[in-house]
Amino acid sequence: MPSIPASSPGGGSGSQGSGVADGDWERVQAEFMKGIWKENPVFVQVLGMCPMLAVTNSAVNAMAMGAATFFVLVGSSFLVSLLRNFIPRQVRISTYIVIIATFVTVADFTLQALLPDIHRELGAFISLIVVNCLILGRQEAFASKNTVKHAVADAVGMAGGFAIALLCLGSVREILGSGSLFGVSLFGSGYEPWVIMILPPGGFIMLGLILLFFNWLKSRRAHWLQSLDKLGEGAR
């Protein structure tokens, strides 16, 4: 299970009934923003790795996967938070899975009808959204405990963060691995593509490097804050 976010400036779900409209809107924004950056499902929580590595060998595939996951996560968060008072505790996980699987089936058939080429390329990985731990994790940790408005804001943020991460990884791998972006050639014919980047090992290595970069940013920031503290003490 992912770490349960405790960020709720409004003070939990109890205060919503009497909450001031401004404060409530701020909380919706906060729920949305945390998924995009501070608790990004991929770069910070490292959730949902299977689909991420498998389909990011080109930017187009990554975008299709991001859109499908977005639809499933937002739809199931909406339904789960709407029904949260009717679902018995003992069978909640099975209920969530049935709800998620329904949305995935819809997404699967829609993609098959509208974009058959991409559907063929993604293969079974669209169906495998069902077992993406990110989606079940959000239902259990957030949607089942919050109002519809906040659950949808949270789902949009998380799914948006996931889609952005997919797009980052897909673009970098496509640029390095085939010298193009969205199928448009970037470097001309003189470029020797790094074929390894569009093959499976490239997925592992690229995600490893991106996580490395985030760790480096984090340690730089900690270092910087520390030296700032020292400066402050020196001035006193």
Binding site: S94, I97, D108, L128, V130, V131, P200, F204, N215, S219
Partner: protein
């Protein structure tokens, strides 16, 4: 017969579930800290995969021709509940085996490798025998990848690495190199025939 051998080795080495399809990455990174745990989880997964194939075959043959849109939902529910039944059965019949494998069983049922196996089997239209061979190959391949990764991680535990590399980033890089090594198996069959 040749086809069955090909299915087995293809799932074991060439198209390894973890290293080339990225299925089952959560346990691959989560439970590969110690060698013996990794091996036991691998065996438990192999066991669940065999059950999965039988369930998926039965559903594909008797139910799904009449209601293809129920595929995902029925796969998940039927596999999860069958594993639950088998778990209870093992607990009753052999407590020793249950202690060795049992704790992993509920975790494995909602693993992408299991659902992936059922879906691949359906897409490739395997029969029961082909499916069973496929499950054995995929399960053995999963165990192999998990054990190799656990061995590597135990080695790196005592070596000194920069603090920002430690953790998931290093595990991913190691998995990348392991996957690179497995790509060498791609020529296994074309060279033989």
């Amino acid at each position: 017969m040749a086809e069955l051998v090909w299915i087995f080795f293809s799932a074991l080495l060439i198209n390894n579930f973890v290293l080339s399809y990225f299925l089952g990455l959560c346990p691959f990174f989560g439970v590969s800290g110690r060698l013996d745990t990794a091996f036991r989880l691998g065996l438990a997964t192999l066991f669940v995969m065999v059950i999965t194939v039988v369930c998926a075959w039965a559903l594909n043959t008797f139910v799904l021709p009449y209601a293809p849109y129920l595929r995902l939902i029925s796969f998940i529910l039927v596999i999860a509940s069958t594993v639950q039944f088998v778990e209870m059965f093992i607990k009753k019949v052999s407590p020793a085996l249950f202690r060795a494998l049992g704790i992993f069983l509920p975790l494995i049922t909602t693993n992408c490798a299991i659902l992936g196996l059922a879906l691949f089997m359906t897409n490739r239209e395997y029969g029961l025998l082909q499916g069973l061979v496929f499950a054995l190959g995929a399960g053995a391949g999963f165990t192999l990848a998990l054990v190799l990764m656990a061995g590597l991680r135990q080695e790196t535990e005592l070596s000194s690495v920069p603090s920002i590399v430690k953790g998931t980033a290093m595990n991913l890089l190691m998995a990348g190199i392991l996957s690179l090594a497995f790509m060498g198996f791609a020529g296994l069959f074309s060279a033989g025939s």
